[in-house]
Symmetry: C2
Subunit: 308 residues, 2 copies
């Protein structure tokens, strides 16, 4: 049980932590700070915490655990703001999708007597804002912690216990390795999805309306991925540049080979790749990270298209 938890930022992830912590009795007092009055009012209306403020320094006063839940690009400013208000022995963590950069932008500002334990819950939906959160978002998902060498093991264990309390499985990893794995698991897929949706947005209006009409044939799955928060994703690509470019380079090399196979009509090469990729999906289902239900378990026959 954490005596006082401070959440800086209260979007999808922050509000899910607040709800989950409340539901599981993980924190006695929850302080919520966010820059925009409007967002704060929404959090208050939802009853997500006990203390509401637009001042991050005020929120972290006396807090045992402080979690930054705002876009990664805001971290350095927030680190400067809260540094002087942190309680000795406090744990400072975050939920950012990139870890090496986060350590570089927060660590220099932290007093010696607090414990920095960066974190990344691998969970989310394409929706944003305080209302989008829900208590079991982290249930059976992974949370990666990337403490630097020499971090107090007790602080790491306290934070691990907190995430386990939210239903997560916790994994400890080196920050740079995390960034490389996430580049191919998450960042390049998002970049590619945003890109193809952008290509469609550039088609002339008549063709674009047909693409929307016929989107069930594959395209719509990309639009879900490409509907995530723009500012969060901008920051991901600004802060994990090298790993993203490395993995994007591999992806593009492979795509050139595939493009050539299409041009040359190399059916054997195409079928071989299309068969090989099925094994990866089976592994993901076996690992409990996905449902085997067709179409993600979407309801069929439920939606009704507009009349022409």
């Amino acid at each position: 049980m954490i005596e006082k938890l401070a959440l800086i930022g209260i979007g999808l992830i922050g509000s899910s932590i607040a709800r989950g912590a409340r539901a599981a009795g993980l924190a006695r007092t929850i302080a919520i700070a966010t820059r925009r009055e409007e967002t704060l009012a929404e959090a208050r209306a939802l009853g997500l915490g006990d203390i509401y403020t637009t001042d991050a320094a005020e929120a972290v006063e006396g807090a045992d655990l402080v979690i930054l839940c705002s876009p990664v690009g805001t971290y350095e400013t927030i680190a400067r703001q809260i540094a002087g208000a942190l309680k000795p022995g406090a744990i400072v963590s975050d939920v950012g999708s990139v870890k090496a950069h986060v350590i570089a932008s927060i660590a220099p500002h932290m007093p010696d007597n607090v414990h920095l334990v960066p974190g990344h819950p691998l969970a989310g939906t394409e929706h944003s804002g305080p209302s989008a959160g829900f208590a079991d978002l982290f249930q059976n998902r992974w949370c990666v912690l990337t403490p630097t060498e020499g971090t107090d093991p007790e602080a790491v264990e306290t934070l691990s216990a907190f995430w386990r309390g939210l239903g997560s499985n916790v994994e400890i990893m080196e920050a740079g390795h995390h960034d490389l794995v996430l580049a191919i698991t998450s960042h390049v897929p998002h970049l590619v999805a945003y890109n193809i949706v952008g290509t469609v947005a550039d088609l002339e209006a008549h063709t674009q309306s047909e693409v929307i009409k016929f989107s069930a044939s594959g395209f719509r799955d990309f639009t879900r991925i490409a509907a995530s928060d723009p500012v969060m994703w901008r920051d991901v690509f600004l802060t994990n540049r090298d790993a993203v470019l490395e993995m994007l380079g591999r992806f593009l090399e492979d795509l050139s080979v595939l493009q050539r196979a299409v041009r040359m009509g190399d059916g054997e090469a195409l079928e071989a790749l299309f068969t090989r990729t099925r094994a990866i999906r089976r592994s993901i289902i076996a690992a409990g990270q996905e449902t085997a239900a067709p179409d993600f378990g979407r309801q069929h026959g439920a939606a009704k298209p507009d009349a022409e």
Copy 2:
């Protein structure tokens, strides 16, 4: 009501047509032909039709509507086999994802007294085979028909009524235009999804297992798309080469611009694209082609990952 319906091929689509036609009383007799004894036995065990044969010519005898539901690569052979057995006035259609090539490979073999009306139901899941089908697969989905100029309007209307009976919305389109729209809506997304899963398959084993573990962060959505039938997809790329290369070219141009924005740290350009793509998704939801439920409405907290 069709007196006799012949389905050549009885995978996901063929078996869904059989079930849907039976459920809605659209055909008095359903004849099922498939090359492999094993698949035929499966169709018989499921009770999908009234007549079962491995001989396509036998199945089409006396049939009023013949629908080819096998991979596109088999069409020319089947067209040759059935040509002599078709009843005068019969409608011959198909469900292939590519239309110009299909017309080129079937039309030359058709007798003058039958009506060729190619079709493409834009529906499916990532599963294959007779057992994967279900009666409402086509409910509220689109079925595109691409009759050539001079086709008997009555034959087009009969086939349209059949698909409407299966729950589909019918759209008439020129074959070449269909192939271009589908290249960007379906074929390039599948190629890109197969490609990124292939890139992961080439990673060293330790990293690959981490990608699988953390796949909920975006990658798993690509693996669903890349789990579709390999032979069907091989044939799509072999037969819609020009349109796929055209749209893939646009996609790659756009991706180069995006890659450069990442390299140069151009946050404004990234955020602008990421914001613009949201509008496309809203249009798709408004058009009833997708659910707005987070994560496609996947169950949260339901799946359980394997213990480490």
